[in-house]
């Protein structure tokens, strides 16, 4: 394999969402970027895994610790050498268990298909007949055979349809690298039952669990909260819960608004609650029935979309790179030691996970409890497959829980199965934090054979650091920036904000992720291949601004004719200056 180039404008270590956004932004404005990761997969703590590889997460963590411990290099000259990595933010409490028989007579698979021999596994789909059977008995082997059809997120995220992240995807044109599916229903746990939360006006009216008077109350409240201009002076120094009570809402309505729509709890302050409610209402009606989108193939795709843009604009990508450490002199990062190479750059961006111990001053570390289940049916059965968001209210000593249930249409799990993600602020440990929900909604021990509850086939618990609630001070050289890992919020706003800050500190003059041209707009000149991308993009924008509708149409027609001719004659003609225009912007 090639040697890495050694000189860059910025080196970015870690392929989490913050680093990936920074990488895309820097490459986009023409900076020479090296984006590098120790792991051989994208995403770091934001990655998605197959069923097989998530089961090995624990081993990998241990392995990584050993790598960190084993490397040591002497100081040389005036510069100081520091090792990369720390153990502060590791994933904890990993525990995966199977709740299926290991092998049964119904299992028709050919023996000898070893999971570690990945070449051999093809056509993992159980055949059609199996699907049409009333009950499919899943075994560990059968599930592992479908391992790659699972894309299990460490950090599952939902995007608000009009949130900052979605707007950024659209404005930067990064949206073209991913597909999304809208959450099709929002549920909550109310009076010991799962209930559909009325989200939109039409939902409110069609909901038969809500009385006519309640409907009016709810509409009035939502309309008043939507109004940004409205005076919120009655809101000072109280919780959102109290505010809603004062509005004389019924307990059911308070439940819907407080725990579901605003994703608040009993302690959420009024102002925050209203902000959250607006965030929800403001994203309604753009894509589908609820305000939320989920990225196809899992949230692990999101960092990759930004990395793709970075690569398209010249960013160099190298995964699976053993990094020894970096040198610092005069409080500035000088070079990164990768393999036997010394790589230099003006700036260094590091994920906190990769940051040398001495760069991190940890004041307080909070955790997110996570639980992932594979189940045999949806929590609320229905004719069509739903993408479900379930907001489980706080209960006794438990925090509120966000649950996302994904079916096969999301590209994250095989047919006839569901992947359930649960996320909450950690109180004790993941197992205890979700115990009540598992008992209320799922059938985990399969004791009750008549039960309609979804059977749990596999469960995995783990804890991730929550950088939104933690307090981590940075103690870094002038040209080093640290990006954080996961956070408890349902969208990526926290990460995008950080990425923007890092970018503007490095390049205060530059625009953050301007729109990338569509392929149709790229001018390719046969004579001169070495066009600066930035210039190219600028040129495009200028042209686009100038062009009137008429001009655009005309050009589109010319283009069509050209294409037709080419297709018919099958001759290849040399176009000195191909210019293509986007028609529908």
């Amino acid at each position: 394999m090639d040697q890495l180039p050694t000189e860059f404008d910025v080196i970015i270590v870690g392929t989490g969402i913050v680093e990936s956004v920074v990488s895309a932004a820097a490459s986009r404005v023409g900076k020479r970027v090296l984006h590098i990761d120790r792991s051989d997969y994208y995403g770091g703590q934001w990655a998605s895994f197959s069923l097989e590889s998530i089961s090995k997460l624990h081993e990998e963590q241990i392995e990584r610790k050993n790598i960190i411990n084993s490397s040591h290099i002497e100081h040389s000259g005036i510069s100081e050498f520091v090792e990369l990595g720390n153990k502060l933010f590791d994933i904890k409490n990993i525990e995966c268990t199977w709740h299926v028989q290991s092998k049964t007579d119904t299992e028709q698979s050919k023996e000898s298909t070893e999971m570690n021999d990945s070449d051999l596994i093809q056509n993992l789909v159980p055949n059609e007949e199996q699907h049409t059977q009333e009950t499919v008995t899943w075994t560990k082997e059968a599930l592992l055979k479908e391992s790659r059809k699972f894309n299990i997120d460490l950090v599952p995220k939902l995007q608000y349809a009009r949130g900052d992240f979605v707007e950024l995807l659209i404005s930067s044109n990064i949206a073209r690298y991913s597909e999304f599916r809208s959450v099709s229903r929002v549920l909550t746990w109310l009076n010991e039952h799962l209930e559909v939360v009325p989200c939109s006006r039409s939902d409110v009216f069609s909901n038969n669990k809500v009385s006519v008077i309640e409907k009016r109350m709810l509409m009035k409240l939502l309309t008043s909260l939507e109004d940004v201009e409205k005076d919120l002076s009655g809101c000072k120094d109280k919780t959102y819960h109290n505010y809603l009570k004062e509005k004389k809402l019924t307990p059911n309505l308070i439940h819907y608004v407080l725990y579901a729509i605003s994703m608040s709890d009993n302690n959420t302050l009024c102002e925050q609650g209203i902000k959250q409610t607006r965030r929800f209402l403001g994203s309604l009606g753009r894509f589908g029935k609820t305000p939320f989108l989920f990225s196809m193939y899992g949230s692990g795709e999101m960092p990759q979309a930004f990395c793709r843009l970075s690569a398209v604009f010249g960013g160099i990508y190298a995964l699976g790179q053993p990094m020894k450490g970096l040198t610092i002199s005069e409080n500035k990062f000088k070079c990164l030691l990768v393999n036997d190479q010394k790589l230099t750059a003006e700036h260094l961006v590091l994920n906190l996970e990769h940051a040398p111990k001495q760069f991190v001053d940890l004041k307080k570390l909070e955790y997110i409890s996570r639980c992932v289940l594979i189940t045999d049916r949806s929590v609320m059965s229905s004719e069509k497959e739903h993408l479900t968001l379930l907001l489980y209210p706080p209960e006794n000593d438990k925090n509120s829980v966000i649950m996302i249930e994904l079916g096969t249409l999301t590209g994250t799990c095989p047919k006839d199965l569901y992947l359930v993600h649960m996320t909450t602020r950690q109180k004790t440990n993941p197992k205890e934090d979700f115990l009540h929900i598992i008992n209320n909604i799922f059938n985990i021990n399969h004791k009750d054979t008549e039960s309609e509850k979804p059977k749990v086939l596999w469960v995995c618990y783990f804890s991730l650091p929550d950088f939104l609630s933690s307090d981590v001070k940075q103690n870094v050289p002038d040209n080093v920036f640290l990006g954080t890992g996961p956070d408890i919020d349902s969208d990526y706003d926290f990460s995008v904000k950080q990425a923007k800050e890092i970018f503007s500190k490095m390049y205060p003059e530059e625009e953050f992720l301007p729109r990338a041209p569509d392929p149709e707009e790229i001018v390719i000149e046969a004579e001169d291949e070495e066009i600066e991308d930035k210039d190219m993009a600028d040129k495009q924008t200028d042209q686009k601004d100038e062009a009137t509708d008429g001009e655009v149409k005309q050009k589109a027609e010319t283009k069509d004719t050209e294409t037709k001719q080419k297709a018919k004659t099958q001759d290849t003609e040399t176009l000195e200056n191909v210019e293509k225009k986007q028609v529908d912007h």
Partner: protein, 203 residues
């Protein structure tokens, strides 16, 4: 709106320098880029062709240089209808890497994706991989096989037209990898999605 009937996503993989970009440029623009450097700024290219009086739009994706250090994003393989694996007939290591590429394809691409093996640079006189060796490899792995020269424009048109025709055939027999109930979303330029069962392409 464009009046094509089908849109297919074709992705290219293979070692750096085997001529992936040149194949795409040759086909979509009819030119052979003289530059040697890695591909910059090119995301995918589009060409509309006609297959039996039907317009077929091919969206051809390039690796954006991420193959150089074997760091192609998984998402690159998602939703591909056809996959072209390219090696350089004058460079043995590019052929030796094919099993690695196949492993990656197995892992991330749909199992129904149309796969084509291409030995490029047949204009070169210092051939290292005889045609039959490539052919045999392709046969063993259930792939189509073609040798091309992007420089001399040999078989390039044929390669992509063959892919378009095959995908059309598959589409007619409904044997295409179906990524969603709404395949249009690949090109969707809409900002409102009426049916929540569809997946949305943001724009």
């Amino acid at each position: 709106m464009d009046d094509y009937k089908f849109l297919f996503k074709v992705v290219l993989v293979g070692n750096a320098g085997v001529g992936k970009t040149c194949l795409v440029r040759r086909f979509t623009q009819g030119l052979f880029p003289p530059g040697q450097g890695a591909t910059i700024g090119v995301d995918f290219m589009i060409k509309t062709v006609e297959v039996g009086n039907e317009k077929v739009k091919l969206q051809i994706w390039d690796t954006a240089g991420q193959e150089r250090f074997r760091s192609i994003t998984q998402s690159y393989y998602r939703s591909a209808h056809a996959l072209i694996l390219v090696y350089d007939i004058s460079c043995q290591p590019t052929f030796d890497c094919l099993p690695d590429w196949l492993r990656e394809i197995e892992e991330y691409a749909s199992s129904k994706v149309l796969r084509v093996l291409v030995g490029n640079k047949i204009d070169r006189e210092d051939r290292e991989i005889p045609t039959h060796v490539g052919e045999e490899f392709a046969e063993r792995h259930n792939m189509y096989f073609l040798e091309t020269s992007a420089k001399e424009s040999d078989n390039v048109e044929r390669l992509f037209m063959q892919i378009a025709e095959d995908l059309m055939k598959q589409a007619r027999t409904r044997d295409l990898p179906r990524y969603d109930s709404n395949a249009q979303s690949i090109n969707g330029r809409t900002s409102t999605i009426g049916d929540s069962s569809c997946c949305s392409k943001l724009q």
